[in-house]
């Protein structure tokens, strides 16, 4: 390009040079850097926006495979509206601005009808403006800190009240826990969850002295001091538990240190919100027997739907050891809800589908039927599982029914009056005190 241009300018007249430059520039810019899109009308395109490289690949690659698997299954059943579904896979490479760029590409260039994607909150925050601007649909499958209800996003993972609070309730009731360590990685999800839990615990009469909050950086690997601190905190004569919002990678060294320092679940149980079957695959779980996790799904839950899902998934991935986990189930539910909504309105038009989704019901894998709520969160059961020696969980408790996801936490000062209602109020942050849309201000 430079050769031609410098050479061109040297030999051509100025006017001709300018014209040539203009043509070249536009040609280059307008020819998108992506492979030419096929204008196939006989398929419905489904975007998959999960990192396949970089630090988040560890969690997200499985979700990409899940959607591919679900699309495959759906196409075997004849697709949707008589058309086959066509997956479009992109790799945002664990790079948050790249998430936004790739979302834009999926919607504008590939013209996908819906996107399944994101894991971290920051990636969701990064693509949010894009989905709003270009009016498309994102299904977000991971448990998160809540405090959000957007028209274009459907949250199929757990809100804090569908994971954290039931877990704490369980520990208080079943284990008679009086003293709490809230340990987390220093980012928004643990911060918010711990804020909510702190407020909740205090409302249950737990004194400030009986709550210890600790944050560590991402990928923290030297847990000696913190585990010793926990041990010390736990020796004050009251039953103590750790509520862990430690992020994926840091968990393995944390649990290894726990095991080695001899903290057993019978002394100080640890309940984790980010540790699932995938994470346990990297640890020898025998020393961790009895530590807990709270999820809306466990692979070990015995229902016909789950057994069928696991069997087909392992057949699809040709790996009889491949585990399943909670975010996968969230995608399973979300995908089926989207299919139902599309079939209901007989269109993939985002506006119509967005309006049709609240109220749609789809079976989950644990024997219940989840429902999309007006705040774009879903109803889910909550399970508490204890880690078993084989890397699986043994469900020791579950909520009696399904719990509706709260977009806005009732425990936080800033959000206790807010609700999300995209059916009646057409508003994600409706203030029930002032009866106005738009937060608590003015």
């Amino acid at each position: 390009m430079l050769t031609q241009l410098t050479h061109g300018i040297a030999t051509m007249t100025r006017r001709r040079a300018l014209a040539a430059t203009a043509g070249l520039v536009l040609g280059l810019a307008a020819s998108s850097p992506f492979a030419p899109a096929q204008a196939a009308d006989d398929t419905i395109k489904v975007g998959i926006l999960h990192s396949l490289s970089g630090t988040m690949a560890i969690s997200e690659t499985t979700l990409k495979d899940t959607i591919l698997f679900l699309i495959d299954e759906q196409n075997k059943k004849g697709g949707v509206l008589g058309k086959k579904l066509e997956p479009v896979v992109v790799d945002p490479a664990s790079n948050w601005p790249l998430f936004a760029e790739k979302a834009r590409e999926l919607i504008t260039k590939d013209k996908v009808a819906v996107v399944f994607g994101c894991w971290t909150s920051v990636s969701r925050k990064s693509v949010l403006p894009v989905f709003k601007e270009l009016n498309n649909i994102l299904f977000y499958p991971v448990q998160y800190e809540g405090e959000e209800s957007e028209r274009n996003v459907f949250y199929t993972g757990a809100a804090p009240n569908q994971q954290a609070i039931p877990a704490v309730d369980y520990l208080m009731k079943e284990e008679k826990v009086k003293r709490w360590v809230l340990a987390g990685t220093d980012y928004v999800y643990p911060r918010t969850t711990n804020k909510i839990l702190e407020a909740y615990l205090k409302s249950k009469g737990v004194a400030q002295d009986d709550i210890m909050i600790n944050y560590t950086p991402f990928g923290h690997s030297d847990w000696q001091t913190i585990v010793a601190d926990i041990k010390k905190f736990g020796s004050a004569g009251k039953k103590t538990a750790v509520v862990s919002t430690i992020n994926g990678d840091a968990n393995v060294p944390f649990y290894k240190e726990l095991g080695n320092q001899g903290i057993k679940a019978t002394d100080i149980p640890v309940v984790a919100f980010s540790v699932g079957e995938e994470e346990l695959a990297g640890i020898d779980t025998k020393p961790l027997l009895g530590h807990l996790a709270a999820w809306n799904y466990f692979e070990s839950i015995k229902t016909p739907a789950n057994e069928k899902f696991i069997k087909e998934w392992q057949a699809y991935t040709k790996n009889p050891k491949r585990v399943t986990n909670d975010p996968m189930e969230a995608h399973y539910i979300g995908f089926n809800m989207w299919v139902k909504a599309v079939e209901k309105v007989k269109s993939t038009d985002p506006d119509k589908v967005i309006d049709a989704l609240p109220g749609i019901e789809a079976p989950n894998l644990t024997g219940g039927v989840s429902k999309m709520l007006p705040n774009h969160h879903i109803t889910k059961p909550v399970f508490i599982g204890e880690i078993k020696g084989n890397g699986q969980f043994d469900v020791v408790w579950k909520t009696p029914g399904l719990v509706a996801g709260d977009a806005w936490s009732k425990e936080l000062e800033g959000s206790k009056d807010l609700i999300g209602d995209w059916v009646g109020k057409k508003c994600g942050n409706y203030n029930t005190k002032t009866n106005k849309c738009g937060g608590q201000g003015s």
Binding site: Q224, K232, S235, P253, K256, E386
Partner: protein, 513 residues
């Protein structure tokens, strides 16, 4: 249900209901029954060897030798019914089981079991066990176990509402003498006590606390040494490639990762083929990791680095690219998720030294690091390769003219550095994730250690690693893990301004030219 079932049979049958509350009731009833099978049933329950058939309500014990017996009769059974499943426990039940077992095994002939029983009684301090504990105490001849019984007795007395003040005061003294976290837990959890006892307990608490505060300094120092050993292990290979050869190897972390994955592969093979060798897996992995990483190192030196000598910044970029390729290659080959590397039994668990807990894996890593360091130092000093290496680094042209094959020495030096990184990977697999990102988390720290300690000086690396480790661990309780780390980085940046060549810099004309 069998028609002739007595109360013991009824109790045992409750295990088959798959309800935690029934299981709890069953444990209590069985433990209290005095039946000879009570102890086997409950220890089987603890180990997950107790199965129940929910239909026939029959319960079975799978003995440690694999034989199966009926839990109510002790009669041998051929095989478990098809729908029999292990009786499930949760944490609360596990504690109940421990307590029950403690009561049942206080008089066990096995000293280890008696000690464990005494300790679990100390925690559960169940009043109805007092007579048993006292008789056990009277009979006991092994000193530490006798001590444990005395402490268990003291714990029970402290919680016994009708115990006399003087008994309780004696008990406080016994617990105070124990002086550890659990003693503190017991004393702070006493609840309402007569004023005299409460006062004694309070003073015991503060005595224990100040004792523990002193120990926590020792603990920080130990943690610092342990962190320092990890840093040293990760940095030592870099000290060779960067310090001795002047090559910036940004793919150093990936060599560590390759070592860790080698360990994983070794353990996989052992698990599937020769499970008996598992405890030796690390011993096998160490030389293999050295060879694999070393070989890859030589390969890298021959294909990339040798073209870039004298261009340190270009080397830095090329090896960074290499690190991306290696990471993604491992991700493709082994998948992006963590891989499980188990701890052999001799690296699991911990022992108490005074009031601090020393975990075996950290201790072994410290010893291992020092051994690697010593071997390396000896190698550089006493072997022909070491001599050639030093000759080449000091004066390449002179060395070449004296008949040293400099390019061979370069390749071997780089291979040595990489191989040591591989060994570090074996050790790090014991405490960290084995994932494609493993190396990334150590590379910056390793560079800091080498630069801080002074390039070209292995002793500097040693001192640098331990200084940073200990400083980090003393900062962490004060500033928190994140701020502590930031503070260390800032301090290093400022330190480099003061001494641009590190702690143990070589001086003189030659190094500055």
């Amino acid at each position: 249900m069998p028609a002739l079932a007595g109360p013991f049979e009824d109790s045992v049958a409750k295990f088959a209901n798959d309800e935690f509350s029934d299981t709890e009731a069953a444990i209590g009833e069985v433990a209290a029954s005095g039946n000879a099978l009570a102890s086997p049933i409950i220890s089987a329950l603890q180990d997950g060897r107790l199965s129940a058939d929910p239909d026939s309500k029959k319960v079975f014990i799978t003995q440690t030798d694999g034989k199966i017996v009926d839990a109510t009769t002790g009669a041998a059974v051929d095989k478990l019914p098809d729908n029999a499943a292990a009786v499930r426990l949760n944490n609360r039940l596990r504690r109940t089981v421990e307590a029950a077992l403690g009561g049942l095994t206080l008089l066990s002939p096995d000293p280890a079991k008696r000690l464990a029983a005494a300790q679990s009684v100390f925690k559960s301090h169940e009043e109805n066990l007092l007579p048993t504990v006292e008789s056990a105490l009277a009979k006991e001849s092994v000193k530490p176990i006798k001590q444990a019984f005395a402490e268990a007795r003291a714990a029970i007395i402290l919680f016994k509402p009708d115990a006399s003040d003087s008994d309780k005061l004696d008990a406080v003294a016994v617990v105070k003498a124990r002086g550890d976290q659990e003693a503190l837990a017991l004393l702070t959890g006493l609840g309402d006590q007569p004023p005299l006892v409460a006062k004694a307990a309070a003073s015991a608490v503060s005595a224990i606390q100040s004792n523990l505060a002193m120990w926590s300094m020792v603990q920080n120092a130990w943690y610092g040494l342990s962190l320092g050993s990890v840093l040293l292990l990760a940095a030592i290979g870099l000290a060779i490639t960067f310090g001795v050869m002047g090559v910036i190897n940004m793919a150093h972390g990936e060599m560590v990762m390759i070592g860790a994955y080698t360990t994983f592969v070794v353990q996989e093979v052992i698990r599937t083929r020769y499970p008996a060798l598992f405890d030796y897996s690390l011993l096998i992995a160490v030389p293999l990791a050295f060879l694999v990483a070393g070989f890859i190192g030589v390969l890298i030196e021959r294909t990339i680095i040798r073209f870039l000598y004298g261009r340190p910044l270009e080397t830095l970029l090329a090896t960074w690219g290499l690190s991306l390729v290696l990471q993604q290659a491992v991700r493709t080959a082994f998948g992006p998720t963590n891989r499980e590397v188990g701890n052999p039994s001799w690296m699991s668990g911990a022992f108490e030294l005074g009031q601090i807990t020393i975990t075996y894996n950290r201790l072994w890593i410290l010893c291992f690091t020092l051994a690697v360091f010593a071997i390396l130092l000896a190698m550089l000093r006493y072997t022909a390769l070491g001599l050639e290496m030093r000759a080449v680094t000091q004066n390449r042209r002179m060395a070449a003219s004296m008949g040293i094959a400099t390019s061979r020495v370069d390749a071997l030096t780089f291979g040595l550095g990489s191989g040591i990184a591989g060994i570090a990977g074996v050790a790090l697999s014991q405490i960290d994730n084995v994932s494609p990102n493993l190396g990334q988390s150590y590379i910056i720290d390793s560079f800091m250690v080498v630069v801080f300690g002074g390039v070209g000086n292995l002793w500097g690396t040693l001192v640098g690693a331990f200084t940073l480790g200990i400083a980090n661990k003393f900062l962490e309780p004060v500033a928190g893990a994140v701020l502590g780390k930031i503070a260390i980085l800032v301090l290093i940046i400022l330190f480099i301004q003061k001494r641009p060549r590190g702690l143990f810099a070589l001086k003189g004309r030659a190094v500055e030219a």
